[in-house]
């Protein structure tokens, strides 16, 4: 087990370097960011040259990347063009997005799995058909439509919530944005759980458990659900990374100042340091989430062992 974890962690190093290098190059290809700093006029050449030097843009790309990587290992993610260290941006943005992701994942787990179990056990009944139809609608409607619609209905027409989230971005403010963010994945979780439950219901160990005379509740939670969760857990695990990085649309609609907001602004201003820094952390989150998912397999299914 320990060896397996170490091996996985070591595998992360090339992935990490490859991902950062790619993003670094992509942002660099977009052109000279200093040109955009002086509004609709040319920066005077002397100031532009000094700014380039300050941000290390006067060096060749390869050298820029190596310097950046060396700095990252000392915990220095560089400085954004407005003079704020990227680590400061991260410390204000990540907690917000993490809260949003937690809300979204909770929705996926609670609503998604519950609906999946209910429909899986009652296949072909009216409940099943209705839920299937609803998930189909949710999957086919883009997030920004759901977001703007809910914002308009709940925020403006009915006045139940504030249309935008305040600077503090507390959990209760994030319920609606979290639901919007989770909506599509939630539908997938429901469908995955439903299929998995329906399949395993006919398996030998469930029949044995029922034959042993175990109460139905125990059969469902202990034997059926636990074994049916493997594909669902895989999905949710990879989804955590996707939710954090993919929150740009939701964060924009509800004016949440999280990772998506910083990334959007970083891309618009061609701020290499911000974009690479944030994406690097997102890549790490993705990798760690994947590792945790793999480890969770062994817990869920005793047949799986890591050597």
């Amino acid at each position: 087990m320990g060896q397996y974890v170490v091996r996985r962690l070591l595998q992360m190093i090339p992935v990490f370097i490859g991902a950062t290098l790619l993003i670094f190059l992509m942002v660099n290809v977009m052109g000279d960011p200093v040109a955009g700093l002086c509004g609709d006029r040319q920066c005077d050449p002397a100031t532009a040259a000094r700014l380039r030097k300050e941000f290390g843009l006067d060096k060749p790309v390869g050298q820029q990347y190596l310097t950046y990587l060396a700095n990252v290992f000392t915990g220095d993610f560089g400085t954004a063009f407005n003079g704020r260290p990227v680590t400061e941006l991260m410390s204000s943005a990540f907690p917000v997005t993490v809260r949003l992701t937690v809300v979204a994942v909770l929705f996926e787990i609670v609503i998604g799995i519950t609906l999946g179990v209910v429909t899986g056990l009652r296949r072909g009944r009216p409940v099943d058909t209705t839920v299937l139809l609803i998930t189909l609608v949710v999957i086919s409607v883009p997030t920004f439509v759901t977001g703007l619609l809910l914002q308009l209905l709940l925020g403006v027409e009915w006045g139940w919530i504030k249309p935008s989230v305040s600077t503090d971005a507390t959990f209760d403010e994030l319920i609606v944005p979290g639901l919007v963010l989770a909506s599509v994945s939630l539908a997938y979780v429901t469908r995955l759980t439903r299929t998995s439950i329906a399949e395993n219901r006919r398996s030998d160990y469930v029949r044995t458990a029922i034959a042993k005379g175990l109460p139905r509740r125990r059969v469902v939670t202990r034997h059926l659900l636990r074994n049916s969760l493997i594909p669902v857990v895989t999905f949710i695990g990879t989804d955590i990374g996707a939710l954090m990085g993919g929150a740009i649309v939701t964060e924009r609609i509800f004016n949440i100042h999280g990772v998506g907001y910083q990334l959007y602004q970083g891309i618009l201003r061609q701020n290499t340091q911000t974009v690479v820094g944030f994406v690097t952390v997102l890549v790490l989150v993705f990798l760690v989430a994947n590792l945790l998912v793999d480890l969770l397999y062994a817990v869920l299914d005793p047949r799986i062992r890591y050597a």
Binding site: D32, C38, L152, V156, P163, Q270
Partner: protein
Amino acid sequence: MRRATHAKWAACAAAAALAATACGGGDSGSGGDGGAVLSSSWGDPQNPLEPANTNEVQGGKVLDMIFRGLKRYDPGTGEAKDMLAEKIETSDSRNFTITVKDGWTFSNGEKVTAKSFVDAWNYGASLKNNQRNAYFFGYIEGYDKTHPEDGSAQSADTLSGLTVVDDRTFTVKLSQKFSTFPDTLGYPAFAPLPQAFFDDHAGWLSKPVGNGPYTVDSYTRGSQMSLRAWDAYPGADKAQNGGVDLKVYTDNNTAYTDLMAGNLDLVDDVPAAQLKNVRADLGDRYLNTPAGIIQTLAFPYYDKNWNKAGTEKVRTGLSRAIDRDQITDTIFQKTRTPAGDWTSPVLGEDGGFREGLCGDACEYDPDAAKKLIEEGGGLPGGQVKITYNADTGSHKQWVDAVCNSINNALGDDRACVGNPVGTFADFRGRITDLKMSGPFRAGWQMDYPLIQNFLQPLYYTGASSNDGKWSNKEYDDLIDQANAESDTAKAVGLFQDAEDVVRDNMAAIPLWYQNGSAGFSERLSDVKLNPFSVPVYDEIKVG
């Protein structure tokens, strides 16, 4: 996606009213007592919030609230009026003696003296401080020493043209005659700075201290700034409200939705998508007033295709092929006005705005357009590509409309196409590297309401915003004469003569004057926009 029916709007207004009273009790209740705080939409300033480092509206908005300079542009007329300046005297338009009014302090108690100005200007002009607006000090003698053009080591830290005479007097020596120099001093870059700025720079940036009607109460960078009225403010333009909370919005659509829901009081950028409904939504709580912004199409004169004889006819022809009235009506819903010269209506007749200076050359006439372009030798390569940045504004819509208009006028579907560039920085980068091959979007927002500011930076040989590298001896001479002329009316006349040269060569095609737009909640009254399209916060009454 916004609805426009009246019944629904009524429901929404009621919701807005309810919510407004609910959130009104922020500071000291809502009774119109001048103590109530309003909230306003904001964008994250692009550069560190220093006077000589701020060159966009969002940062400028804050500077306008927390600083007062020697001059201030009247929010209504744009006229430069003395603020901290008691008098500015000159006999030769080159040596100025400036006397600072007595009794002004910064909000931390420090007196505003001649030194506060001289130190601030020296800081702004010094190359080592990386100030984006350093060139504003370029007219002052010694600038070439503190800010060498070629980026070599600076040989002086202070401008030799600035001398502190006593506590309240300092002298300015310019490197050339510039009669309207005093009128430029209302620009935020010329604001005074307290000693704290130099002693604890990081601390100052996290909570700026100035001498304006508002003080910064708290500042969460990237999301919100709370400004409160400064009770001991010595000026006449004391804040009529308790303060302003500036909230950063990523998307102006969200800000607008927040305004509709009563979650926000003032939006100073109505999104293009809402322009159709804004009158139905807000009625007379919607402002649409002229601002000192003009949009033009510039040409690359470094490209030989655009720099040979006869191409002025092609450019004039293109100008006549653009149906400005139709585009400003349908795409901009009259938030822009078809341009008839190269300045802005906010200057006023006396300031040099002359309606119809462009004359026929800006009138839509497809037949004349076709004829002119043929006479001029046709479009270079048979096609023009209008380059623009696609990330902000609604540039794509109007560029497509302009091209459509040109194509229809010339009866050729391929005469004009848009050429989008992904980001503003990339767009500017290509302009700086002289990579344009056809007309490109050029917008100009004035720094100060002077005709000089609309002409010199844009068309003078080698000027900072002469993106097309247009160069004309006759024009340059007229500008030089105008700057040296001490009689204002005569100077304006000379500037207009220079503008005639721009027209005869069609150096850039004027498109339209841009208005400032704003919407506000029912709690507010006396809301207006100044000529820079920024709300005049100190005059807003709450409740």
